[in-house]
């Protein structure tokens, strides 16, 4: 055992305590904004995977497979370092000069990545709806687009609220990877406190407590949403 003097004061002493709270605020922002992207694209590509028209189905599958099978860290670095180069030399320098570029890249990259996982759940939701419902809806005279928009997507979404809860929790956890491109979220702040005080153990333990409280809050919120949108007559957990 190395002699180590614990100093839990780094969790509330100025300015370190404040750093952690600022980090939490960024974690919430990134997670919530990326979730908007993930949910919209996830529903889009998940729906594409269940339509009858083959090219659209392939498009949906390719998206999901590509984004699911590459580590998020690699995707993040690709968008952050290689992304601006894709726009050509002149635009590249303008993009790189943007302030807060890493913040926006983190949100978009996390959204695109999580969309592939949401898409997978959406597809499973469609698969669990009986075939008769498609025929019933179409026989009322709805067009396929109306069918998906008014009946199928709302139905599938209500069926997959539990796995979506897990994804919503995961998006806040994955937002910690944004620290690698310098976004000052919770994990980044705990590391920064270590650099200043050499009390990384206390700082990371404090950050763990923050993620734990955040996670429990999200679970409570989703419990409420699930109860509100539960389909009557189905088995409950």
């Amino acid at each position: 055992m190395l002699s180590y003097k614990f100093d839990w004061g780094v969790l509330w002493r100025q300015p370190y305590g404040e750093w952690l709270l600022q980090g939490l605020w960024l974690t919430i922002q990134i997670g919530a904004l990326a979730w908007v992207i993930a949910l919209s694209l996830g529903i889009l590509f998940g729906t594409l995977r269940s339509v009858r028209f083959l090219p659209l189905r392939i498009l949906g599958s390719v998206y999901v497979e590509v984004f699911r099978n590459i580590p998020f860290l690699v995707q993040l670095f690709f968008w952050f370092y290689a992304g601006p180069m894709l726009f050509g030399k002149t635009l590249q320098f303008k993009i790189n000069a943007l302030s807060g570029l890493n913040y926006y890249v983190a949100i978009v990259a996390l959204g695109l990545y999580t969309a592939s996982r949401v898409g997978e759940h959406v597809r499973a939701g469609f698969a669990s709806i009986g075939h008769g419902q498609y025929e019933a809806v179409l026989s009322t005279g709805m067009t396929p687009v109306q069918m998906y928009w008014h009946v199928m997507i709302p139905h599938a979404l209500r069926l997959i609220i539990p796995p979506l809860t897990t994804e919503f929790l995961t998006i806040f956890k994955n937002s910690a990877v944004a620290m690698t491109i310098g976004v000052a979220e919770t994990t980044f702040m705990s590391y920064k406190i270590d650099e200043q005080t050499f009390h990384g153990l206390e700082a990371t333990t404090g950050a763990m407590a923050i993620y734990l409280v955040l996670g429990m809050t999200v679970v409570k919120l989703m419990d409420f949403i699930e109860a509100r949108f539960r389909i009557p007559g189905l088995m409950t957990r």
């Binding site: 690699v74 370092y81 937002s175 153990l201 993620y211």
Partner: protein, 218 residues
């Protein structure tokens, strides 16, 4: 097109080998500890069940990257000297992934119906025979797809050891990129390499999933 990749190929692939090695340690240790965790989660003894459940629920709510950091800070205090980042990363992966494998194990075990166990007993099998010939084979078959999927996730996660300075593939790519400034081809190469391995893995997982669906064992 891939000139910068080809020039640094041995260096980059050496990093990839580190990812593979880390994944092997993480999976071997994670499966072993995960089995114990799974057993703890189905245990009827409260002094086993509650601590194990606390451990699982705690770690599953925390980002892996933070766990890697935490072990990086705590290991020198426990061991008394600074550790190699590889060892520190391996320990954090084992402790972290064991919670996920433990839950897969628990789900597999709990998916077996009580009637099946009663039926086995009624044919005259004792507990050990029931476990060896009935419980373990069926549970294993049901767990296999999730286990392969979790192994792929573990393999992808090894890239996160980047944060404590382990010279794995992503770390080496950033180093090469800082010299060559060929971000597009370098990061595409890493992405393609990971994609090939993980895509094959996900197909294998799918294959076993379909197979067990067709088999319809109770």
């Amino acid at each position: 097109m891939f000139d910068a990749v080809l020039e640094n190929l041995p260096y980059l692939l050496g990093g990839f080998l580190t990812n593979v090695k880390l994944a092997v340690f993480a999976l071997a240790g994670g499966l072993f500890l995960g089995t114990l965790v799974g057993l703890g989660r189905i245990s009827k003894r409260p002094w086993v069940y509650y601590p194990v459940t606390l451990y699982v629920n705690f770690l599953r709510n925390i980002p892996l990257i933070l766990v890697i950091f935490w072990f990086y800070f705590v290991m020198p205090i426990l061991v008394g000297k600074n550790l190699d980042p590889f060892v520190s990363a391996a320990v954090s992966f084992i402790v972290f992934e064991a919670t996920y494998f433990g839950e897969i194990f628990r789900a597999g075990f709990q998916s077996i119906s009580k009637d099946l166990v009663s039926a086995a007993y009624s044919t005259g099998l004792n507990f050990r025979q029931t476990a060896t010939y009935i419980l373990v084979p069926i549970a294993f078959r049901r767990m296999l797809p999730s286990m392969i999927t979790q192994s792929i996730i573990t393999f992808q996660d090894t890239s996160l050891a980047y944060v404590i300075g382990l010279a794995e593939m992503v770390r080496r790519t950033t180093i090469v990129d800082s010299i060559e400034v060929r971000s597009i081809q370098l990061y595409s190469f890493v992405a393609i390499l990971f994609f090939i391995i993980c895509f094959i893995g996900s197909r294998i997982s799918l294959h076993y999933e379909e197979k067990s669906r067709k088999a319809k064992v109770l």
